[in-house]
Amino acid sequence: MSDSEEKIVEVKHLVKHYGKFHAVEDVSFDVFRGDVFGFLGPNGAGKSTTIRTLLSLIKPTKGEIRLFGKDLIKNRNYILQRIGCIVEKPDFYKYLSAEKNIEIFARLSGVTVTKSKVHEIIEFVGLKGREKDKLGGFSHGMKQRLGIAQTLIHDPELIILDEPTTGLDPQGIIDIRNLILQLKNERNKTVLLSSHILSEIELIANRMVIISKGKTIVQGSVSELLNAQELVVSFSVDNIEKAKQLLGSLPEKNILDKIEDQNLLLHISQERIPVINKLFCDNDINVFSIEAKRKLEDYFLKLINA
């Protein structure tokens, strides 16, 4: 949870059916002010449907959605005025310039936006000099940046980004990640970030929810959820046999998973890493590297396959 306890988004038992197809079955989560909140799930889990429902693009079959403490259906315009979003991919009017596109959406944002503000925001996302260019010639990465400019133009409190790095090259992914961190750190925004790229969430989110088959599986702090998991830690040492004997003296049993080259792969918790490292060093075993293999991917796959 973030510095503030104020709930910005509350989703309770959200359900969305299209005839016999159940896109969302039971999704619940809370986003607090200041969070970078990761919304995780495999393809088809119901992420986009949930996000579209949050933005009133889709009407829920059942469930309650409250943003900024107010019911979404009854206070749609009040709520949307405080949100900036990109849903799936940022599509713009190809026959208009970047500047005109931003102006068009800014005009509907509920606040007065000056031309200098438009230029400032275009500069912030790194598109200075391309303001007058028509969108037809923009790359996907540039459109994504412009999409972020569009989300920020009216200075919203909550930014919702649905799969913002899809289709970007590695540099584009890094740029978007840095932009999101800038939004949180420099502009104090709350960010709800949907993605199936788990490393992205691990790197930038402080809280997350994982959904699968339209249902919430788990939600909470990213670090707490991950630290609660057992790691696979690789110790690269110069004396494998001696190291194995020393491991036998530890109170935990069966922690050795396997040996790969000169690496011992151990099932241990994060707190035990320095203990085992000290044990090896005190017994004249040289430790060349320690690598924690636990990743959000493992945790994620474990949960959705459960």
């Binding site: 799936e88 509920g110 569009q150």
Partner: protein, 280 residues
């Protein structure tokens, strides 16, 4: 917010290349007609007046700007709906096809306001197209062919309308033509709310016009009962303003039927657009 949205819609229509297809097509077609009438107009007039020459003697300048304007309007008013639907049929579905509808509908403005903004902009475009047609037909026609009395051939026979009696008839006729074109704009906008691509509503609009026109011309008793209620039957009501005496009841009835169609279609569009899940 509504007016800001309407301004946006005007900007979008003005920036879209397809919006100029109508203007270009009308300019080209009217240009060709004006050229043809300038070169061979007298033969054309002789062909029309020949059956009456045994009983009537024609004096004065029959081939004048007023007659040219009337001929052009009669020829084009059936085809202008396609040019209108090309733009208005794309107003909602085009946003879906481009993906911009996702951003548009996450703004703090009601869907009904967005739809009416689009409708108003579509009606303004319709008016611009009609005014351009009027300008080319009437103003340019008069510059090239001069002015004079208008000779109109209708089902009742030949009607000669004096020049001083024409201004209000043209104004009223254009207003009626505008109403029928707004009806087309409303139809294509409504169909646009049901589609995720631009072509569907445009083709559907034309298909409906063609179907209703065919039904309207079939001399089958069962179809004759519904003919008075088809909007296509009333799309040529503008011509009634060039009859003498003026068929007031017929004109009012046509206007009411077109209005009822417009309101009915708008209600369907608002209902559909507000309930639409945006999956594009």
């Amino acid at each position: 917010m509504f007016w800001k949205s309407t301004y946006n819609e005007f900007l979008k229509i003005a920036a879209k290349p397809r919006s100029y297809i109508g203007v270009g097509a009308i300019t080209l077609i009217v240009g060709i007609i004006l050229f043809a009438m300038k070169v061979d107009g007298h033969n054309f007039i002789s062909f029309v007046t020949q059956p009456f020459e045994q009983s009537l003697s024609f004096e004065g300048k029959i081939l004048n700007g007023n007659l040219i304007a009337f001929i052009i309007l009669q020829m084009l008013i059936i085809h202008v709906p396609l040019l209108i639907a090309l733009v208005t049929g794309d107003l909602v579905s085009g946003e879906g096809a481009m993906g911009t509808i996702r951003l548009l509908l996450t703004k703090p403005i009601s869907r009904t306001s967005i739809l009416f903004s689009k409708y108003l902009a579509g009606c303004a475009y319709t008016l611009i197209i009609l005014l351009w047609l009027v300008f080319l037909a009437l103003v340019v026609g008069k510059i090239i062919f001069g002015t004079g009395d208008l000779m109109v051939l209708n089902s009742e026979g030949l009607v000669i309308l004096q020049e001083k009696d024409l201004a209000w008839r043209f104004l009223s006729g254009f207003s009626m033509a505008f109403l029928s074109l707004v009806m087309i704009a409303t139809l294509s906008l409504t169909l646009s709310c049901f589609s995720e691509n631009s072509i569907g509503p445009i083709v559907s609009t034309m298909a409906i016009i063609i179907l209703f026109t065919i039904i309207g011309t079939l001399d089958v008793p069962v179809l004759q009962k519904i003919q008075p209620f088809l909007f296509t039957t009333h799309m040529v009501t503008w011509r009634n303003f060039f009859e003498d005496p003026l068929p007031v009841d017929k004109i009012i009835s046509s206007a009411i039927i077109l209005f009822v169609h417009i309101i009915g279609l708008l209600a369907i569009a608002v209902y559909k657009f507000n309930r639409k899940d945006i999956l594009a």
